[in-house]
């Protein structure tokens, strides 16, 4: 049995939860260019940014929160931006939320 999931298939770690959340976005949004995970320094929450040309461009990063639930037992913070906005974010023209770091971010889907 995987040590990353419990017997009901629920992820035990923030990292596995991030991959589980990202998977349907990848499968249902063919235009998505990436889903990026930002490690929470406290390793308690899932922090994600989805990049897709199909979303409205607002020039800022709006983060939507979700409390944990039986399928994803971690609090989630997630935003969705266009590839142009992703470039602006990487160039520091669009700010990240406090404690989010580009340096430790990883593509998860």
């Amino acid at each position: 049995m995987s040590t990353s999931y419990n017997r009901y298939g629920v992820p035990k770690t923030v990292q596995h939860a991030a991959h589980d959340i990202a998977a349907p976005h990848r499968s249902e949004d063919a235009a998505m260019t990436g889903m990026f995970g930002f490690p929470d320094p406290d390793d308690r929450e899932v922090w994600l940014i989805k990049v897709t040309p199909q979303t409205p461009r607002t020039g800022e990063l709006s983060i939507f929160g979700l409390r944990g639930d039986p399928t994803v037992p971690f609090r989630v913070q997630i935003g969705e931006i266009t590839p142009d906005e992703w470039d602006d974010l990487r160039a520091r023209r669009i700010p990240l939320p406090p404690r989010w770091s580009l340096g430790t971010s990883k593509k998860v889907a």
Binding site: I21, P24, H25, E28, D29, A31, K50, P53, Q54, T55, P56, R57, T58, S62, F64, G65, L66, R67, G68, T71, V72, R75, V76, I78, E80
Partner: protein
Amino acid sequence: MSLRRAYLRQPRSDFAVFNRLLEWESVEMCHWLHYLQMATETLAKAVRLEAGARPDLVYSHIAFSKLTSLLRANPGLADAMAMRRSGFAAWLDASASLRASIETLHPHVARDGPDVEYPFLRGGGAGETYVAPADYNFSIGNEIHGPNALRLRKFVMILLDQFDRLF
């Protein structure tokens, strides 16, 4: 305050409460779904009023799903939202069932199905029993991590924040 402004003020408040409830541990699913249903219904009515609907036509609880035709008839809206028209149309199609599911959370629309306000019967025969919404796992609630729900939250946020510019 005009009726139009009032119809915009209320979903802004409802949507803010929805977002807070969704982050609040140990709040039953029915509560944040209730606020999502109210916010989207009233927002849809604000759009219909702006489009010239008579005030007496906005009392039906079937509103959010009907918003599709109004939005689809306004392709300039995608441009105004700096959104690809293809993406706008695709999202309207992809989220149709989600929007209909939100609408049927209202007791007048749900009919015999589960709603977010009043106890309802489930099961059949000897197993028939009343269920409180607070104890029910609404299937739509399990879609909240998915791509359509994320886009919906952003879309509603933009419509509410930029209503005067967009309509």
